[in-house]
Symmetry: D2
Subunit: 364 residues, 4 copies
């Protein structure tokens, strides 16, 4: 249920209304939008008649019931206004949202060593990325596969952040690791396999840090939004949804099926910003550029692309990683397409790439 305030409402009156509502067995939240201030109510609202609320104050314009099971994540809860998730990085604030420029996150699947992660960070920054991705703790199907370098990899990510000023995004798999990862990361990633790890969702919600929430392998859109709701309900409004392909009956050519229709569908359901991960979706680097272009045309707010200096020797997910030069070339196509759709930005303008492209990565 939301309570929409009239434009001229004095701040003190809003506080008074919130105070009064706190006695009603609901949790009121003030949401300041561009056009309207609304007070969101979550809890046992079924029994509350609209008339009762209207009587609290003449400054109340209207009350609207949110019928969706995901309350805070719903577009109605913000009175139809899309939210912007702002992440502070050493290089400045970066906004994720429908009305912001396209944001590119790039980097390797796993942090392997200092040279590798720092150089990759420099390359992707030069090509226009704003965030470096890199796994310290890796969810691997086999217990005998490389599990990530853990804590020491966090230090390397911190180093890469320091050198390049890029924001850092890395995956958290265990509630016990949330705090130490939150010390380094600018965005916490919850992976597809943990989308319904509710303990983890509550814990990352409690940090207040921006969270990139990947869609589960066979999660419905409603389940995905309910998972986001766990984070929002824990008091953390900074959630970014990430589509990374869903499981299908045909896994011969692509690892998953990239469901780009989530972009227009989510726009009708939620105010949260959207990222597309074409690397995990296809599982093959050769298909990444095409699906990147498709994602931009479908209106994504952000992209998450795997880049590795030497995919053939990657400790994980090599086949889906672009080589640095391939990423640079892709970014040269991404930029004008983003501009075509009004999502361009100076940041996407490649800086002088020459200093990086001279290195022969095929020999790394």
């Amino acid at each position: 249920m939301i309570v929409v305030m009239k434009d001229e409402t004095p701040p003190s009156e809003i506080e008074r209304i919130i105070n009064e509502l706190q006695g009603w067995d609901v949790v009121p939240e003030k949401l300041v939008g561009k056009n309207k201030i609304v007070i969101g109510l979550v809890g046992e609202t079924a029994a509350i008649k609209s008339e009762y609320i209207q009587q609290i104050s003449p400054f109340i314009e209207e009350t609207i019931r949110v019928k969706k099971p995901y309350k805070r994540a719903s577009l109605e809860f913000r009175y139809g206004e899309y939210s912007t998730v702002t992440v502070v990085t050493p290089n400045g604030k970066v906004d994720f949202g429908k009305d912001s420029p396209l944001v590119v996150i790039a980097g390797p699947c796993s942090v392997e060593n200092e040279e590798m992660i720092v150089e990759t960070a420099q390359v992707v920054k030069a090509a226009g990325a704003k965030f470096l991705r890199g796994g310290a703790y890796k969810p691997r199907t086999s217990p005998y596969a490389f599990q990530g370098h853990g804590e020491s990899a966090l230090d390397l990510l911190a180093k890469a952040r320091e050198v390049t000023g890029l924001g850092i995004i890395t995956e958290v798999m265990d509630t016990a690791d949330v705090d130490k990862i939150a010390n380094v990361a600018d965005i916490l990633q919850v992976g597809a396999r943990n989308m319904q790890n509710f303990s983890l969702l509550k814990k990352v919600g409690a940090t207040g840090k921006p969270v990139l929430l990947k869609r589960g392998l066979s999660a419905t859109i409603e389940e995905w939004l309910m998972a986001a709701e766990y984070i929002l309900a824990a008091g953390n409004p900074n959630v970014i949804l990430c589509e990374r392909g869903i499981r299908s009956f045909d896994r011969q050519h692509t690892r998953n099926v990239l469901d780009l229709s989530v972009v227009p569908v989510l726009r009708t359901l939620t105010h949260l910003p959207i990222t597309i991960d074409p690397s995990h979706a296809t599982g093959k680097s050769q298909y990444v550029p095409t699906m990147t272009m498709g994602a931009i045309a479908a209106g994504t707010d952000s992209l998450m692309i795997e880049v590795h200096p030497n995919p053939a020797k990657a400790l994980s997910d090599g086949p889906q990683s672009l080589k640095p030069q391939e990423f640079q070339e892709l970014m040269l196509e991404v930029k004008p397409l983003a501009q075509f759709f009004g999502r361009g930005t100076k940041s996407l303008q490649s800086q002088t790439l020459s200093q990086f492209v001279t290195k022969d990565y095929s020999k790394v």
Copy 2:
């Protein structure tokens, strides 16, 4: 198996080689590409050693085995050259293919009456479509639902063709109807539910008419290409593949999941041209424009979009049909995006729309 000819090979020598190969328990087919002439061999090629074939003529450059189960549909069978399916319409030839301009097919789900189909044809033509779609025989889940007007609807399609010069595409569901539909249609459509109706595939293969083959609801890419192979093996090289969404576990918001990654995947597997149908994929007109843009960015050769003068009163599939004005607006976005990707064409330039947009379709 393919036999690649040297550039300077005289035509008579190619004929001689084909004649000789006909004695080998294989079916030889001459394929004239832009760069090379190759002779494709289908049949019991396993036992044939390359050396034997090389000995037939010094003009043979090399022989290559096609390992894929779909021989004629495979990209190797054409020595890596993408094919163009040319359809002759009253308004002239239209090419479907990777190196041709984007082709738009539009029209209603079903042919309802003369006024409706002729006017829709005029509208979609004016907006830039080259083909009119419209069902005469409709595959409907329920036996009590409208099944299409059948033969009389074919006459109306012929009328719309005569009036507008657009090519006609319509679905064929029964081997018994193939001939009469082929008399009217420029392209025969095989629907998703009939993708593995092998009797029908053989029959439409025998006509030689261009065939648009929709992917089955849960057909793998390999099964789809094997279905195309049925048509090709019947002697009909004019096959266009159409992705229309696959079935998934989440059917709450979209009818199917549009698998745009088929575009880059098919490019590595087959030479056949590709169409995307965002209308059936999403099942909701509000998502069609976005997925149309995504499809173009992913590199489709063609689009198939449902347009109905009054979707609310459509006899079938109303919710997924664009209104004429919505289609016109979409085409105004399609055109520059196609040009962005080098797939523009004068034909996509809207003609004077004013004569149509004045009509108030909401009252039709």
Copy 3:
């Protein structure tokens, strides 16, 4: 909508009511159940008020609206009474239904030659099967794979029928073949790939012959029942539903996933009898016996099991075919389990098997 008659209603009154209802823009059908006679109405019943119908005759007990989209296939349409499909074979009538003994259908995927089909028929008959399955027209993924011997195979099936007295079930794929297949077959099979080949459904519906309707690869239960409705609506009440496994994301170990829960689900939705095909569901003969036992425990009315004298040399689907001896051994387990569930029958008692088991099929 159904009209339930009082017990004492004279037949002439029922006729009178039907006559009167024929003037109402609906199709009335008299259905004589064990406990009740009801008149089913299909058509534009929405506008007909119950009171109007009640006024036709004091012998009308009540009228009930069938809310399901599949009218004739719904359990309500028969006032909750399960139907029995009786098939006349040379050896006598065989009943398929919830209250009848378990019926076993067995035989090879394809009819390969006379000796093979006749001997297999003798073996499966001796082991307790009532029907011989065998494909004359085969739906094959590849156009280059064996497509069935067609018409000549029908003659061989007729021969096997003559020799053994078994009923014959064989697949029909093309509307053009329905009549000639109906001349030989006691049950027409519509395969999974043709479940929504609506032209074919109408045509087999028109024959009046018993039809075994396989569930499509990814057909929902509702779509399956709507496909059955096509046949019923064409005037043919003799439909048997056959679950043969559905497509899933995991195809490494079984070809499909056998959905045994359809048995209890279908019991709540439809009156039609049920067959389970564990051979196509698993795709591997080693899993067939276990799933056969599971199917019986889940309450299936019938089983369809592939048996081939020499699976290693089968022209199609060898890996999923039981050897004759394996089938005999399975039937020795099937019989007591069927009896355990009150579905036993003398027919399941194996006849003297010795005459067959002496033959060494591994050398066929």
Copy 4:
């Protein structure tokens, strides 16, 4: 890789071989089977030639490479012998395994209060169950739904255990809760949503406690066995696999599709015991009895069935819970069927039920 010892090998020689192998960069594990003692080797075995190992001792019969990616979970790793997981409960040891009697686990979705859990425990014990299930920490799609009573519910489970002597199984969702749950539970349950929560798998592996590992919503069989391998690799051999239905395209009538073919498939791949959960698979209590019977016939080692004193008022999953009397009636059918398949046990014999059935649970 496994090293199979000759029958007469002295124990000291086996110790000597293990000691020697510890120097080889592999982890040797002694596995004492009924027929053979084998030494399993996990690690970098690719480089180890069989001849090298053979030379260690003349008591080595043979060495066999395990090709499956799940080493310890594979049937080969135990030289083809199925393992038995023995759980010690106050009422005595209970064995889960292919050669043991059928074990029934029953109880409510959530622990709601003391009276409810203790009485349910008494009822299910009387009917023949050996374990009580009951959730203290609940994975719920919505953050606003009942999340389980947590620690206080653990106390109630301990009380029910004390009163009835039943073993306790309850779900663990967070690595932080593993120890306190392990203090009360006889079996730790890892739920479907956490099947690939690798941190949790490692932690429950480290406890050594029996673990019931549910199959993920869309986990392949190989992924499921790899998840089990995580637990086994952590040194815990006591893993029971639980099939609870997989996600499909048709969710109208059943929540999931119960994949009973996993039973025969797992028998060919792994030595681990199997449980079937028909309650979560179907999501509707009316289908539970039928699927229970199907599961027994398919050969499951164990069943997990939801029972609630008053499903209509259950705090979670009411629709899929049997009422006590329904469970008692089902057990009266389960017992003879288990005996039919040689999986009977005195424990399945219902004790005097009269003391419980007199209570009118519909009024609880």
